[in-house]
Structure formats: structure tokens, C-alpha cells
Symmetry: C2
């Protein structure tokens, strides 16, 4: 993940009371673990167990959660429901956030069908494509709209976040259309760095970047084994 938020650096671009970006990035994992504990009927969890479920150290988990003023009680641990609600609120998920997917090709339709969208506090409210062959077909239970209708349809549907799943050459114009329609959060799956105004937040998921980071860790291990 490459975070390309407004300004030169995330920590500099956000107000001083903000929580560090790596902490924010770990909160969804804690939330997911808490929800699975609740689904299994558990009401409390120790920091050690929760940390183990999320593959982080328990000291890091306690420090992360201290940003939310979510203190566990010694000998009792964290209240699963209360902590989940706390994280959900912090992440802005105390109401359902509506998303639109731009690009109804294989990647876009795979994302549209991902059942976790609803479970994670989001609702798929629009799918858009420029191709007349795709417009009007059904993707993710919705009828694909022409990209030219993005502003009108996204306003009608209350779309706040856009997921860009188009080929690289089409990604900037998709982002421009989303920004022009008032979208302030973009999740970009296209392998290109988007140029957006400072007020718009972009997260970039890039296969090449992920593979390169993974390559570093596996290569480093191979080097150590040779020594």
C-alpha cells in the first residue's frame, strides 16, 4: 500500500491530534478480529489474545488502542462490543458509507461481488464503465451506468468513495471525473500514480509494489540462510 494523501507526508498533512497512519492501518484488523469473537459469542478478550489473532505484539496493540482511549481492564481485558463500536466510530463507520466502482471489467466485477463490502460497513451504490458493451449489464447486483452519468448518479446514490478498477491509461480521467463529482476518497487499483487536489485522499493498491516488498523479505531471508 502506498498512501498518497494530500501534501508531502500523511503525518504532516493531518492535524496534530491525529493518530499515526500505521496505527490507523492496523485498526481494521482489530475490528475484524473483534467481530469474529463476537460472532462466536465472546464478550471480552485479553490484549494478548487479540494481538495474537492480528499477528501484532500485545504492547503495540495496547499502544494503538490507547489512541482511542479504549482502555482494557486488568484481569478482564477489552469489552468486544464496546471496543468494536469505538473503532468503528473512529474509522467513520458509525454510518454506512456508499461506494462506487469505476470499471466493470474482471477486476471491477470481482470487487463488486466481494461479500465483505457490506460486512465491513459499506454499501455498493454504483458501478460505472465507459464501454457501451458493458453499460446496462448487471455487476454486483447493480446495472452498470455510463461513466458520463457519474456525477448525477453518484449524487443521487450518495456515493462518497470511489474504487478505480480501470486500465492504467484510463485511470486519471476516471479520478478527474470522481473529483469533479465531489468524491473525496479514492481507492486506486490501476498501476498509475493519480494526480488529485490536496483535499482528496487516495490509497493505491498496486500488485507490483506488493510483490516488490514481498520480494525484499524473501530475498533477505535467502541471504541470511547463505551466511
Amino acid at each position: 500500500m502506498v498512501e498518497t494523501v494530500s501534501g508531502p507526508d500523511l503525518s504532516a498533512a493531518l492535524p496534530a491530534r491525529s493518530v499515526p497512519a500505521p496505527v490507523v492501518a492496523r485498526l481494521p484488523g482489530y475490528l475484524q478480529a473483534l467481530e469474529s469473537l463476537r460472532a462466536g459469542g465472546r464478550s471480552t478478550v485479553s490484549s494478548e489474545e487479540l494481538a495474537g489473532m492480528c499477528a501484532v505484539g500485545s504492547a503495540i496493540l495496547r499502544r494503538d488502542l490507547s489512541h482511542l482511549s479504549a482502555a482494557g481492564r486488568r484481569g478482564v481485558g477489552y469489552d468486544c462490543a464496546g471496543l468494536a463500536a469505538n473503532i468503528r466510530s473512529f474509522l467513520g463507520l458509525d454510518r454506512v458509507r456508499r461506494i462506487g466502482i469505476i470499471g466493470a471489467g474482471r477486476l471491477g466485477s470481482a470487487l463488486a461481488d466481494y461479500a465483505g463490502i457490506a460486512a465491513s460497513g459499506f454499501a455498493l451504490a454504483g458501478v460505472f464503465d465507459t464501454s457501451p458493451r458493458v453499460v446496462g449489464t448487471s455487476v454486483g447486483g447493480l446495472t452498470v451506468s455510463p461513466m458520463g452519468d457519474f456525477a448525477e448518479r453518484s449524487a443521487e446514490a450518495g456515493i462518497e468513495l470511489a474504487v478505480i478498477a480501470v486500465p492504467a491509461p484510463a485511470a486519471q480521467s476516471a479520478a478527474d471525473a470522481a473529483v469533479a463529482a465531489g468524491i473525496r476518497g479514492i481507492l486506486n487499483f490501476a498501476p498509475v500514480v493519480l494526480t488529485v487536489p490536496p483535499a482528496v485522499h487516495v490509497r493505491h493498491v498496486d500488485l507490483a509494489t506488493e510483490l516488490q516488498v514481498l520480494a525484499h523479505y524473501t530475498a533477505a531471508e535467502a541471504r541470511e540462510q547463505q551466511q
Copy 2:
């Protein structure tokens, strides 16, 4: 991105001389920018310009690159070719790394066709699926192999990294098969936390996590505007 590397915390799990995980995660972006400068015929770049291309602060960029002992020269900047080679070597990309994709559905085939794989120092060397309907078809220029042949085929093809693009219920068994075949790096697109031995590195790309982090930043902004 959730990094679930061996042990409780990445920084704790790696030797002391290791570079911090956030620095490693930014290096592919620097490499991409340097390659695009080189493609445009540029031989040197200032830290300010390179930082601007990567949407980070120039102080952060200089500090990051100091881990590679890649010093820019005052008034000249960084040598694009030299710095790119330096990063490439650090990331373990001084040789082509072979990857296998497990899951030849929409997501898997979209990933297989991603042209950036080769450009980023990787070669797609296998595509695998459990479904007899998919095995034998062509995906990403390769014939899809049955998952039962993973160990044999990956050894033949020299596959070092596996990309998991199967539905959540099938992801753990896909990971188990990859680990059993000696794979030490897994990029997981399935929305489930994988259990792997400590020596295996997993990076997890999860739509819900990315959306939730994005939701935090856009919600925080909305709150500030209300104040």
C-alpha cells in the same frame, strides 16, 4: 495493507540491521519514479523532484535512501540509474523472481494479465486452479494447471512467490499447499487471515481494510469541516 510477517511485529522479527517496514514499503514507489525518469532520458534527479513524484516529503526521502547508503550529491542530486540499481538490489530484484497465481477466476486472471508484472522484475510462471472447468484454459498466456500439481509445477518453474486469488473458504488450503511446496512469500487477496509458519512471509491486500482506512480519512475531514 496488513503485514503479517513471522512473529509478533515486523521490526522485532527481522535482524537489527533491517530497514523499517514503512521505508521498505516506499522503495517500490521511488523505483517506479526513477524508471520513468530514465525512460524519459533523465540521468539525475534532485531529492525534491523525486519526493514530489512520490508524494512524500524530501526529508523523508533522503532519510529513507540513507538506509541504502545511496547519497545524493549536493547540486547534482541522485544518479537515476545507480539509485534504481541500488533499490532493485535491496528489494531482491537483481534477478527475475518467478510468481505463481493460485485461482484463475476474475481476480486471478485480471492479475495474470497485468502488464506491470514483467516490468517490475517478476515473471508469471504458473497459474493454478482446483476447478476442472478452468484447468487447461489459457490465463495470462499460460495454461492453467490443476492445484494438485502445484508442488511439482512450481519446482519445475522455479516459482518463489505465490499470489492467492481464491475465495475466502479456499484460501487457507491454497496457502498450505504453497507452504508445503516450499514457497516462502505469499501475497494474499482473499479476505481471510492466513495461518503460516514463521518462516513464511504474507502480505494481505484486503478491499475492506483499504476502504475502512480511506473511510477514516474522509470522515475525519468531514468532521473538521463541521467544526
